[in-house]
Point group: C2
Chain length 444, copies 2
């Protein structure tokens, strides 16, 4: 029996596939199915996902929505240049996506808009019976997390979070090693989003807000208004799959502390001068926000949000169990009884080769050249395949909610001086018996 | 004006030396002074410190106390073998140290006993007018932290914490770089004690408690009874000096979370079998205890205690400011505008050479061969020199209290589900104006 048929999610528009999910012979029989996709948001991220979709023979892009007519036109052109039929375009208003999701020729919707739209758009898609694949984070607030869960349960339409880092090659191999018991019983994990975004939060120069470019148009405002972990999923996603969160485990409580806020102001002054409007803005976001999460299984996770200071990129992963420990900073591992020398790190590389995840072994060639070191291929692949097969996605609405909930819980804890905040149980108790769904085979 | 004469500590038995502390010419004139030391506790650690003391020409060891007659005899022999006069020995009872500290031929007392004795012994020494140099941690409880502070203030006798890691070569260089502004304004630090102590907590085999050997005789009981950061100072000491704690800054609040406890039980079973008495013990200590500390200056510190699982040793340092970041895991650094490639780590080694602390530049030759990579030389040197010169020690009673207080605060937070715990202000408000004392010159 596979995990798929142990999941109690009922998808009203398709039969549960059960063991078929792990049976390539049967699955390949469905290779002729096509998925008709609508895409909402074709800025940098949406365009990148569109390009991956256009590489696939099993997808049609039937409709695209973006309030920026130029971005929309570029995306429509991309589809045509790929020899595909010209998709319908929506750009009249911020709510034009509501028309897109109603179209009969849309089976599923990719959402790659600013954060504030992720949950409302996913909710609209589900209400229209269309599966959303939503970019990270799935929601900004706890209320939105519940909106996603409630809507998915009420409509029977699954919602997938497009968390690409779960498919990073080293992360996927570590996930496999966790499943195979190499680390023993997991005890402690670390992760985060440590990425100097100053050139993205301000662009060009010291600009942000409506007159700026790229994500500086909207993303920076979250740093002005909010103080907490604004972007937890790239880190917590892979750790949650390792820890079996929502499938035998769950996050129970967190505390967060934020440092003072220095980086963004100093950057605005350095780039725009002290008289620049950006230099007179007070940024709420502390430069480093650290969150401690307790799990029902007795594990803890440290999550870091660090986007305002000069620093090399790192998601700061650490997976630690009763038999060993892996860290991506330095790419090192130690496994008791396996590592040759006691108390000494080993390089990760030989383990990568030995424990490469079956997904990568099978699909590496197609992943080559896809965004973010190939991992974007897998997250698109998983979304498209789960839609085609009408099975629950490997990263579902409960994952989307539990991972994204960290943001508001963290903001609350920071505001209350580190006061612990209880996680809602979005599964309403079903985490106890739910089985894992992520990364269990080489299919998707 | 040096920091020394800005410190408001009054040492009743000696004049403040003021600027002399940084004037080698004057200081060298005191080279003929000798310090007469009593040593309490000559197990592994005390013996190691004794050997360093015996290398020095400016010390006499006049009395040694240990309840283990064999350990005492070995220590007394070591003194004689070094061509020194035979010291008096005390081993009659656990309270024999009370006689040692009263001796007229003892100026200062090194305390290297089990943790539970550190504070009472230091208090006894100060009451007798003898300066204690106390091993880490200085205290097990908050009440003991206050005992140290109150006694030092009432008697006017300084108390030094013998935190050797503050003098680790890379740590001292980073400290210098912090003082010189290379990291900009500090924002966030990390540290911890990540050391697989299973072979120390159980020795031999699965033994611990009175019948065991070495630290397994007493240290392991703390893991049976307590759940929190039992051993914070090796990590927090160096970060506290960088952050100016007790000298313009202070720790205000912490939260802690502990994982489940697996490592010690599993080790006891593996070494002693399931029927061994140690295998039937329930250990309170979570395998990984993570503590978040907020500072008055707006910085945060993550402190890790991780001593029950198989893992390579690491104190997990990270010093992060508005201009850059250093981590000892991987020995990497990034300084904006200094590092050649943006967003890319550099190896630490060239910085070690360039920013070697003046203490190391001056004393490296004497430090060679001293314990723990040479750093033990410096902590003994600092203690002896500050006693000789009758100046406050560079790591004082307020540091000892603030750093050691983490243990009970952490235990409380863990017990209360991560509830924030306020740090006592052991300086009673003087942290606002106190000047730093650690690592300011090449003298000690």
């Amino acid at each position: 029996m596979t995990s798929m048929d142990r999941r109690n999610f009922v998808h009203t528009t398709g039969a549960a596939v059960g063991a078929a999910a792990l049976a390539p012979a049967i699955l390949s029989g469905r290779g002729d199915q096509r998925v008709r996709l609508g895409i909402v948001g074709v800025g940098g991220r949406g365009t990148s996902l569109l390009e991956l979709i256009l590489r696939r023979a099993d997808t049609d892009v039937t409709a695209i929505s973006d309030i920026d007519p130029a971005a929309l036109a570029r995306a429509v052109d991309l589809v045509e240049q790929a020899g595909r039929r010209r998709p319908a375009g929506y750009h009249e208003s911020e709510h034009d996506y509501e028309q897109l999701v109603l179209r009969d020729d849309v089976d599923a919707v990719i959402i790659a808009t600013p954060w504030r739209w992720h949950a409302p758009m996913a909710v609209a898609a589900m209400r229209a019976g269309k599966r959303p694949g939503v970019e990270v984070p799935a929601a900004v607030t706890l209320a939105e997390c519940w909106d996603l869960v409630n809507t998915s349960e009420a409509t029977g339409v699954p919602c997938m979070l497009l968390e690409n880092v779960c498919y990073r090659r080293d992360v996927a191999a570590v996930f496999r090693m966790v499943r195979e018991g190499l680390f023993g019983e997991l005890v402690h994990c670390r992760c985060g989003y440590q990425h100097d975004l100053r050139e993205i939060k301000f662009h060009p120069g010291a600009e942000f807000g409506p007159g700026a470019e790229g994500e500086a148009r909207w993303r920076t405002l979250h740093s002005v208004k909010r103080n907490g972990d604004l972007y937890p999923t790239h880190g917590i996603g892979p750790m949650a799959t390792c820890l079996g969160v929502n499938a035998g485990n769950r996050f129970t409580v967190l505390t967060s502390m934020a440092t003072k806020s220095r980086g963004l102001h100093q950057y605005a002054v350095a780039r725009g001068g002290p008289a620049h409007p950006s230099a007179r803005v007070t940024f709420a976001l502390g430069d480093v926000v650290t969150t401690l999460i307790q799990c029902a299984g007795g594990e803890t996770v440290v999550v870091t949000h660090d986007t305002n200071l000069p620093r090399p990129y790192s998601l700061g992963f650490r997976v630690q169990g009763t038999r060993g420990i892996w860290m991506d900073d330095g790419d090192v591992i130690y496994l008791e009884g396996v590592s040759e020398r006691a108390h000494q790190w080993e390089p990760w590389a030989p383990y990568q080769e030995r424990f490469d995840h079956p997904l990568w072994t099978r699909w590496a060639e197609r992943a080559t050249g896809a965004g973010h070191g190939g991992m974007d291929f897998f997250v698109v692949h998983a979304f498209v395949e789960s839609v085609k097969r009408r099975v629950p996605p490997p990263i579902d609405v409960y994952d989307a909610a539990a991972w994204s909930a960290i943001s508001e819980l963290s903001e609350r804890s920071v505001a209350e001086g580190g006061e612990p905040q209880a996680f809602p149980d979005f599964t309403r108790g079903r985490w106890v018996t739910r089985a894992p769904a992520f990364g269990l085979s080489d299919a998707f």
